[in-house]
């Protein structure tokens, strides 16, 4: 079957190549023509200042995951329970230009999640079974010159039982004819929520705050080679645990309750610092319509979690207006020093602990394929100011969790 599919794909590619005019070399020419068109449109727009729609981006993603984890109650007590879930995320982004110096971007993602927390049996919050979340996220950018962009981002997020505020400034410097781009941004996120416990009891109100700082560099090394790197640090304070998560506790039976295995909540440190460094090299092969990217990310949590992520992407134009992107990612991480599969007998209530499978030591692999149709580069008869993309991705951890991800998107410029 695999061989047949392979033959079919080869045949389809060959047919497309023959029908549509196989010239990945002209992908560069099409890109240059599109760049000229964009510059012309920008210059024309400058002569006609005022509010106007610039772009619309619609994306719908679907994820289905299967796996078993220690925090889930959907399984034998003391063992791994089912952590199956699906997520549907329609997502819309609108870009509106106020004048030639100010542009606003509004992003509205809507998450619809089943089994958002697989172990809570709460009666008050619906979060364990089915959850809907919505965010309004607005970024306004002021560009006083061709060298500097100043942005401010702010937004609100609602997700039962949580309300969040997010806000922060960013600065971008485009230097040496945009051969060097430096970005600096800060973000503050504050979550306020009802800390339901794993039994569904509402314990009032609590909050957590995150402060993040990120510095990035994009450097053109040659006409075909690009380097980008970033460093980010995040500091969090407050109630960091997911209060409705629980974990297995081994204990001595009592007269009132003879059970030797029960559940209790997870407990995180009151503050947490995380740092990440990322570097990526992109290489375009002139005349072939091919671009390759290789990246590495190092992550460090002050609670002794290390993570290494290696990723590779290959972009190949089939025709100047249609390309495929194949990507693969390998990730490995250690667990924080407070990760334990269960709480042993005689534990102290204040002991930091979690058995969240996302924080477990594991290795994961991910592979995906995306097809993108760019009508802006298409032959004039079918040219339009929009594009479509379709993606499939498979994610697999060595602890048995795996997920399938599909996405369909539409982008339009005005």
């Amino acid at each position: 079957m695999g061989t047949s599919l392979g033959r079919l794909a080869t045949a389809l590619a060959a047919a497309a190549w023959a029908t549509l005019g196989p010239s990945p070399a002209s992908a560069d020419e099409a890109a240059a023509a599109l760049a000229a068109k964009k510059e012309l449109e920008a210059r024309i727009a400058e002569e006609d200042p005022g509010w106007r729609w610039e772009a619309l981006n619609l994306q719908t993603s679907f994820l289905y995951q299967e796996g078993r984890g220690l925090q889930s109650q959907a399984g034998p007590i003391g063992g791994r329970g089912r952590e199956d879930a699906w997520v549907l995320q329609p997502w819309a982004q609108f870009r509106v230009r106020q004048n030639d110096q100010v542009v606003h971007e509004l992003t509205v993602p809507v998450d619809i999640v089943s089994a958002a927390s697989t172990d809570a049996v709460d009666a008050v919050s619906k979060a364990s079974e089915y959850n809907e979340a919505v965010t309004l996220d607005l970024t306004s950018t002021y560009s006083p010159s061709e060298v500097v962009d100043m942005s401010f981002r702010f937004g609100f997020h609602y997700e039962e039982p949580m309300r969040s505020f997010i806000g922060g400034p960013s600065l971008t410097f485009k230097l040496f004819e945009e051969n060097t781009v430096i970005g600096l941004n800060m973000i503050v996120m504050s979550d306020g929520f009802d800390p339901h416990n794993w039994e569904g009891k509402d314990r009032g109100f609590t909050a957590r705050t995150s402060f993040g700082f990120n510095a990035s560099l994009v450097q053109v090394l040659s006409e075909t080679t690009l380097l980008d790197a970033s460093f980010g640090t995040t500091q969090q304070w407050g109630t960091l645990e997911t209060t409705w998560n629980s974990m297995v506790v081994h204990r001595e039976p009592t007269e009132e309750d003879p059970r030797t295995v029960v559940r209790d909540g997870e407990r995180f440190p009151r503050s947490r610092n995380r740092d990440a460094f990322f570097v990526r090299l992109s290489q375009h092969v002139p005349g072939s319509g091919t671009t390759g990217k290789v990246g590495y990310r190092f992550y460090l949590d002050e609670n002794a979690t290390f993570a290494h992520t290696l990723e590779a992407q290959l972009f190949q134009y089939i025709v100047p207006w249609l390309y495929v992107r194949a990507h693969g990612r390998l990730h490995t991480q250690t667990s924080p020093d407070f990760w334990v599969p269960f709480i042993e007998e005689g534990f102290v209530e204040s002991t930091k602990r979690t058995s969240d499978s996302d924080l477990e030591a594991f290795t994961s692999r991910e592979a995906g394929l995306r097809v993108v149709l760019l009508r802006e580069r298409a032959p004039l008869a079918i040219r339009g100011k929009d594009s479509f993309n379709l993606e499939y991705l498979r994610y697999q951890r060595d602890n048995g969790l795996h997920a399938d991800f599909g996405s369909l998107g539409y982008q339009k410029t005005f």
Binding site: S26, E29, A30, A32, A33, L34, A36, K37, E39, L40, E41, R43, I44, E47, D48, P379, L380, A381, R383
Partner: protein
């Protein structure tokens, strides 16, 4: 005062106020019209014999940018013409720069070290400019594949870009 001097004087006066920018742009005429302009000769900036404009644009959807070295507003329009040429060259568009009322040596000196993405021709006696009724610079003239004048405007705007796309699709 001969016609050339008159045009130069009028346009130079307009240039002092933004090269005619204050005057409203002429509405594009989308219905093709026959014009005598295509029968009139133009001279290539590069060495070569005079040739009718119609021969230069024969069989091509064409945009002719009428400009002069002293016209400041022409520089912006010529930059747009260059981008238009780069954006639609692969679709068959021909952009032609037509220097109006100036001699080859002056134009060549002005363009020295300024690479341009489309061919430059000369109309030193203003014959083509007059036939196109181009009273001010810059003027943009759009011709269809049959060599008929389809639109004339003072600038390259979104309307001109849409018209060019339509003509290219139709051709």
């Amino acid at each position: 005062m001969d016609r050339r001097s008159l045009l130069v004087a009028v346009v130079a006066a307009a240039a002092a106020h933004g090269c005619g920018k204050k005057k409203p742009a002429q509405t594009a005429e989308h219905a093709p019209v026959e014009t005598a302009a295509t029968a009139l000769p133009v001279t290539p900036l590069a060495e070569g014999a005079r040739v009718p404009l119609g021969e230069v644009i024969k069989g091509k959807v064409s945009v002719v940018d009428l400009w002069a070295t002293w016209c400041e507003a022409c520089r912006d329009v010529s930059k747009n013409a260059e981008l238009l040429a780069k954006a639609y060259r692969r679709d068959g568009l021909l952009v032609v720069g037509l220097s109006v009322g100036e001699e080859r040596a002056d134009v060549a000196r002005y363009l020295e070290g300024k690479p341009h993405a489309y061919p430059i021709y000369l109309d030193p006696e203003l014959h083509v400019a007059d036939a196109l009724d181009a009273k001010e610079l810059p003027t943009i003239a759009v011709f269809d594949k049959a060599g008929r004048l389809v639109a004339k405007k003072r600038k390259i705007d979104a309307e001109i870009v849409r018209l060019v796309e339509r003509l290219l699709i139709a051709s």
